[in-house]
Amino acid sequence: MAETSLPATPESAAAAAPRGRAYNARTLPGFATVAICAFVIIYAPIIILVVFSFNAGTTLAIWEGFSLRWYAQAAANEQVQGAAIRSLYLAGSAATIATVAATMAALATTRTRRFPGRTMIYALINQPLMVPEIVTAVALLIVFAWVKVATGHNSMIYLIAAHTAFCIPFAYLPIRARLETMDMTLEVAASDLYASKKQVFTKITLPLLMPGIIAGYMLAFVISLDDVVITEFVKSAGQDTLPTYMLGQLRRVVTPEVNAISTVILLAGAILVSLFFWFSRGRE
């Protein structure tokens, strides 16, 4: 199943086409120019950012030699440490809750008899993808302000709730995709072989769904780690995450310390996203 549904690779498609007649975008005029421009626009600023994170000097304009001093300074900075731990804690909590919720939602929208409003539920789950983030942020700011006044409670719980909400669709989509391509007769076969409903889930559905769940978790984790807008609106004093801390720093003196932190986040994100693609392919 998995093999046959994979799209043909460019090589095999070209090999199957008649000799020399295959359509090839690379032969179009200006193809190389456009491609190079696009890559430069995407990657040049990032490369410059990474390069200057190793600057021995204190500015972002003049290169004064290679040094790891900004990494050392960032690592020793208690505010950075606090923000980093908060970011990881927040992303970990939000991604975990979101993945559990998304798994249940995905099961409910693929492993039940059609019920009226199923399509509506699908749309509702994906609400955070459609409502502009700034709108959600303002809405949460207002609602949480009331709640904070009413309860007097002021902890990370608000950030976790907000992050969980916008992480759900990112976790939901890969999990649902995985469930939809999964052969339902496997579950029927397991129940035919004396597996109870619970055993069908733990022995068949869950193990086969695992790549989707891991992919969903990692995507949710990265999305949470990266968020600025909602965090900035929802956080209370002393609840800076790395992105909001950096935003705060940019309003004051800019040193390559920000570059160093960015580079670390970049690396973490790149690893997680690579793992996401690896898992979502299912490895079968």
């Binding site: 007769t185 029927v188 076969a189 397991a190 129940s191 035919d192 072989l193 109870s196 086969l208 079968e284």
Partner: protein, 369 residues
Amino acid sequence: MDMSTPVSEAAEAQVAIDVDRVSKIFPGEDAVRALDDVSVGIRRNEFFTLLGPSGCGKTTLLRIIAGFEPPTMGALRLDGTDISRLAPDQRPINTVFQNYALFPHMSVARNIGFGLEMLGKPKREVNETVDRMLKLVQMEALKSRKTSALSGGQQQRVALARALAPHPRVLLLDEPLSALDLKLRKEMQIELKRLQSETGITFIFVTHDQEEALTMSDRIAVMRDGRILQIGSPRDIYQRPAERFVANFIGESNFLDATLSAGHVTLKAGGGAFAVTAPPGVADGPVSVLVRPEHAAVRAGSPAGDELPATIRNVVYSGDATTIHLELGSGELFKAKMSNSTGGGATLPSQGEPAVVTIAPGAVTVLKD
């Protein structure tokens, strides 16, 4: 297995699966009546085949027996106990799925052991049974392979072993051979028969391949539009089809117009009177009769006595036999199939020439409609 003998009490006790007036309606805007008042008793240790064209309800009946689908009406008994309300995991019935449905994240051995494991059997017993099953389907060498790394025939064997391992009382097989090529298919047909007699399990087998049904089954039920038209041994079904549809679906047929009168029929095309046993409910008068092509012989010349005059339209040689297409005196078309081993095809007249058709005594079957 003769249907004409009354069902004795001993035979009644032999019934493993008793499908009692089961109907299945899939609700919806255009509701489908997939099964319409189906009743059949499938005997213990029987190789029973459901045969019929696509969409006639074979899979639906199998799914109801397995418990994947509740019947809309009617009852289902296993060895006399009502099982209609039991979930699939509560029924000692296993299924070999059309697409095999092997668990891709488990090895061959774990697939085969899955049922016993779920039944909570001790590890040792599971392992022993798995080894025995692997031997039974000749797959010992591939014990720890992933199922995705198996050929179609190998997957088929694993699916079979997995369904047999818990030693169910009934095994359901939904077109398990349809994905295999012809040669492997023939091999697996023999293997399935062997497994059935070795294990003593009741097999309910679904196919729309009439030849497969004839060669493998103890009894066959021919289905159409959610109903069972006829149940009988392959011989019954082939030689004494009750209806035109059954005759047409199984084997090659000539349908001729005739007149029934006092236990004899006279063909419109001539050829004298044939003694017949008319099925109940068929009155004297015009009827339709069946003659199988291999029950007729053709020779050149003019008719004498009760022989039928005909004109040769076409002669088709197919290795072991020759099929002669003729036009009878009545204008009806007729096929005769003669074995080449008896030299039958050697001295035939060619196209357009007159010929004589002889129908074997007892080869004329009166059809219900």
